[in-house]
Symmetry: C2
Subunit: 403 residues, 2 copies
């Protein structure tokens, strides 16, 4: 297949240019300013529309049960996220709903969300456990992620978020996680990233260190939610232990961000949460300018980030994080792919997997400018078109002309 | 057609309930908790999804030429909207592009946007002129609106925004608008609403009074952009002259909002602009609680509100204006329809025009909770389905099973 006359945004931050891209099988074969169709090759006329790599959403809690819509009214009345959490709402209400759901119910719910993400251009996505808070329920979540991914065209990466919250009903909860849940997860899912939330009322710095040192011994890469509300030292712990990423960073100092930027650890920014909770945004400019490995992700979850729209994430990145559109696109394509361990995607280059998006827009800046709606026209996964939206006017005209 | 087993949100602010709705021809025939199909009647199974009136977007500048993407970088560097305007950017750059476009080019551009709005659930929309700033170019815009609406399934309402900005190259510009442009518009488009922007560097209070008194004599209803940045007395002028609406109100005092609430004039709130310009939001709660006729609209325009997504408007209304979802929905269905002079839509009731939306959501609160993307599953205009999105997973499964 030849995608002709597109505005090509490669995903590595380099400027866009007008050109064509050839897909052969599941891979990108070549791209350049002027390619001509080979005999028998199908041609997709892009008409100047933007072509870019499929989005890689590297931080989501998109598997959950129940909803947190009651919190909307509490928040409207002025209650804060931490107040709602302290009153037994927040994460713990989702934990109750997840525990009451079967693996199959969880998988069905997630599958619906996965297709919704795909239609919005996300072709690879990370999904965390973390609403189980027991060995049985964490394993159930991880199995549900596996089950939902069967037959789904995109790529799903599971993360074992074993340190998401403390179950107040279980004395010695952290001990249980380290000595029972972690080994059980290790036995069934070796090599998954292990993740934790270092925050007041969640895992303390000492809890995180305990979990992470054991997980590292078992060969699990580490990721950490740190500095969302309070800077407890999680960022420094993550650097010390060589974690793959530190995520959130809203409360990080400039010095901490600069130190992180000089390490191999990715910084994952989640601006939807700043927006939805009326909270802070991370100092993205500082981290970017210091040469940090910056990733943008949706943080999709029912409490603090009700969105899986990467275009909305990019729109916030331009307005609230001070990033340019090319920096923002790189952060959720090439950089996000590398964080998840993929060297075969997130970039338009020969030999890369053909996970591609064609937008309705003819200028990539509109991806971050226009607010709301779905700007994705076509989604191609491993060389196969899985979603194509016909222009509504064109579709209606065709219907009218056929009677 | 019977739409069965929907979650019905009528649009008048009353609570949602589970029920069915019958469409006969272009109208709603009946609705209630349990209707059974008549012989030969087609049935749309809603499966508990939310059914509501098509959105009425009562304030847009969706007809424009060029783009304002360069301002994105200026704003990223910290320049304010008023600074960009004062430097010859802003509205005047759009005016230059509109003047260089033909009526046909403008109509083609608008038609693309109209279908995009329709797909997002907006079945009736107001479109303003105002980027012409000359008799010839204002007439060109109004004709382009008329032309774009031909054959379009939704309903387009034009407004003559004759007082949008001052052309600095024309001495006595306001005099020209009143003595030349207004009579020319009146001759070709009698009865259109006449609109103005009462603001520093735009139309002064005295300019607005002059234009409006003459327009009123000619029988044109009035609308006014007032109190966006500066409270110059426009709100009071609009009340005094019995304007249909005052739009913006970000800088209005509580006393002014309460006085407006006790008048027949609608207050139109445009939260996308507060968000996009990092500016203020109107005190919606004060106006609503005082019994004001509150309307929400997109303000879709290339400079201060790059969005025509009513779901995004509702999402902002919940977070930034303190409205409940039912208040927000009413504000862009029933109340917006009435502002535009329609008594036949914006409400699910027998005899009303069947402009309907079926969402993918099963709880109307998700309409304001979920951020980004397009939650609209089906759009029905005057009883005919003009847009129906098949679930992507379902569509792919069907494709796979047919080979």
């Amino acid at each position: 297949m030849l995608i002709r006359d597109a505005r090509i945004v490669t995903g590595d931050g380099s400027p866009a240019y007008r050109g064509s891209l050839r897909v052969e099988g599941e891979r990108i074969a070549e791209l350049g300013p002027s390619l001509t169709p080979q005999p028998g090759e199908s041609v997709l006329e892009a008409g100047g529309r933007v072509l870019l790599p499929g989005f890689v959403d590297a931080h989501t809690h998109a598997l959950f049960a129940g909803d947190r819509l009651d919190e909307l009214e509490l928040r409207r009345q002025g209650k804060s996220y931490l107040e709602i959490l302290a009153a037994g709402g927040g994460i713990l209400s989702t934990v109750r709903a997840v525990r009451q759901s079967s693996e199959r119910e969880l998988a069905d719910r997630l599958r619906e969300r996965l297709y919704w993400m795909l239609e919005q251009g996300t072709t690879s996505m990370e999904i965390k456990s973390g609403y189980g808070l027991s060995t049985r329920d964490e394993l159930k979540m991880l199995r549900a992620i596996q089950r939902a991914a069967e037959g789904f065209p995109g790529t799903v990466v599971a993360t074992a978020l074993l340190g998401h919250a403390i179950d107040p009903a279980v004395p010695g909860f952290v001990e249980q996680v380290v000595s029972e849940t972690l080994p059980a997860v290790h036995a069934e899912f070796p090599g998954l990233c292990v993740d934790a939330f270092c925050e007041q009322n969640a895992f303390s710095l000492a809890d995180c260190r305990r979990l992470f040192e054991r997980a590292r011994e078992l060969g699990h890469p580490l990721r950490l939610h740190a500095d969302q509300f309070t800077s407890l030292g999680g960022l420094e712990l993550a650097r010390e232990l060589g974690a793959r990423s530190v995520d959130h960073l809203e409360a990080s100092s400039r010095e901490a961000l600069q130190a992180l930027a000089h390490s191999e650890t990715y910084g994952v920014l989640l601006p939807v949460t700043g927006f939805h909770t009326d909270g802070r945004y991370a100092d993205a400019r500082c981290f970017q300018d210091a040469g940090g490995k910056l990733v943008l992700a949706s943080n999709c979850n029912p409490g603090s980030a009700p969105s899986s729209s990467m275009p909305f994430v990019i729109a916030l990145a331009l307005r609230k994080l001070g990033l340019t559109v090319l920096e923002a696109i790189r952060a959720c394509t090439q950089s996000a792919a590398r964080l998840l361990g993929f060297s075969d995607r997130g970039l338009l280059a020969p030999g890369m997997r053909a996970d591609l998006l064609l937008l309705q827009h003819r200028d990539e800046r509109l991806l971050g400018y226009e607010l709301g709606g779905n700007p994705v026209q076509s989604v191609i996964v491993a060389g196969a078109t899985v979603f194509h939206r016909r222009e509504l006017g064109e579709a209606l005209a065709a219907r009218d002309s056929t009677g």
